[in-house]
């Protein structure tokens, strides 16, 4: 039985996850192995994007019919406990490592969400959790909830998958919420290349978020979803969005009430699309939950 061993880095985040896939591809030059061993021995810290990516990667391996074993995952390190609390091991091994552990109050544990249920999850679970964590009302967070719904609509409309993995974590000490959504679909560069050939992967990501640009010309696809995400999270909230897809990786940083795309030149690649949202909790504008008539 052929096998490949993937050693996870000390920190698994949007940047380093790309190296994990590169390592995997390098070791699969002669075709996919029968078994993949994921070594958790060196893992010391894992970001939300790392959790969603790793989960999708394991799902993908199983989807391809590969056996996937974990190694050194039972170490009692910070990241291992965090993954256990995030229900990562329960989702992939069937059980938590420690039955007494469970989701932390500062996280919305790892979930693989189908598009059909994504909006109910965002509205009924994630939104109220966030409102409670930030001690604000739901209405103040509606724009951010819609951002997540836009991403799930994009997964359904533009990837060849119908689900995405989501994980959220609140960092009260630094006034930040990180939310990562990842899918293992065909990715942004592939879709954009169908409309704009010969474009680099970073350019494709920047093109994909352009207001009015869509790779589909249907009444509902008018290139507004990702623009809304950036306007809301980066432009209004002053947070950050990082989009990683295949060889492309672009950070969208706040600049003068707008948003500045900053391509990241980094090795490796990210199958599908991972969107990493950093929401500032100290700049959320309170909104009254009062229905009104639309005034033009």
């Amino acid at each position: 039985m052929s096998e490949v061993r993937i050693v996870l880095p000390a920190t698994l985040n949007t940047f380093t996850l790309r190296g994990v896939i590169s390592d995997f591809v390098d070791k699969c030059q002669n075709g996919l192995p029968d078994k993949v061993i994921i070594d958790f021995g060196f893992l010391g810290f894992i970001h939300p994007s790392g959790v969603t990516f790793l989960s999708n990667f394991v799902h993908w391996l199983h989807h391809r019919g590969l056996r996937c074993d974990f190694y050194q995952h039972t170490r009692n390190g910070q990241a291992h406990r965090f993954l256990d609390d995030s229900l990562f091991f329960e989702q992939h091994l069937g059980n938590k490592l420690n039955v007494y552990r469970g989701p932390r109050r500062t996280t919305q544990h790892l979930r693989r969400v189908e598009h059909a249920e994504s909006h109910y999850f965002i509205r009924g679970t994630l939104g109220p959790w966030l409102a409670d964590a930030l001690n604000t009302n739901n209405a103040s967070l509606y724009p951010f909830q819609v951002c997540l719904s836009e991403i799930f609509n994009n997964i359904q409309d533009h990837s060849d998958r119908d689900n995405g993995s989501i994980f959220a974590q609140h960092f009260p000490n630094i006034n930040l919420v990180r939310i990562a959504i990842a899918d293992f679909g065909r990715g942004i560069p592939h879709n954009v290349a169908n409309v704009v050939p010969d474009i680099s992967h970073n350019e494709a990501i920047i093109k994909a978020v352009e207001a009015g640009f869509s790779t589909k010309s249907t009444p509902r696809n008018r290139g507004a979803g990702l623009d809304y995400l950036l306007q809301t999270v980066v432009g209004t909230n002053g947070g950050e969005v990082t989009i990683s897809s295949f060889n492309g990786m672009v950070r969208f940083l706040p600049m003068g009430g707008g948003c500045r795309p900053t391509p990241v030149l980094t090795a490796g690649f990210c199958p599908g699309t991972t969107i990493d949202i950093e929401l500032r909790t100290d700049t959320i504008i309170p909104v009254e939950d009062e229905p009104e008539d639309l005034e033009w």
Binding site: N153, A211, A224
Partner: protein, 96 residues
């Protein structure tokens, strides 16, 4: 004539839901000069929903006619902002 979105679709989340609302509005506009669209019990609306439900109406109505004949009520700030932004952007494209 008043229609409640919640009586037609379970939410304003997807383009598919928006398209159902669009077909309903288009039919009602044939026999009613003004249609009042109530978002009662709907908290949010995505761009896909608004594109399908309202922006599509710009194929049969001018923007001025839309504002005159479609009245949106019992909608929160996020929904109103989304409808206004999408309608203004798409109508300005048509005007250009």
């Amino acid at each position: 004539m008043v229609i409640r979105i919640i009586d037609i679709v379970p939410g304003a989340d997807t383009g598919t839901q928006g398209n159902i609302v669009y077909l309903c509005l288009k039919k009602l506009l044939e026999t009613n000069h003004v249609v009042i669209v109530s978002f009662e019990d709907i908290e949010t609306a995505t761009s896909s929903f608004v594109n399908a439900a309202f922006v599509q109406l710009l194929d049969v109505l001018s923007f001025l006619e839309f504002k005159d004949r479609i009245k949106v009520t019992k909608s929160g700030k996020q929904i109103n902002d989304m409808i206004k932004t999408r309608m203004l952007q798409e109508s300005s494209k048509i005007a250009a």
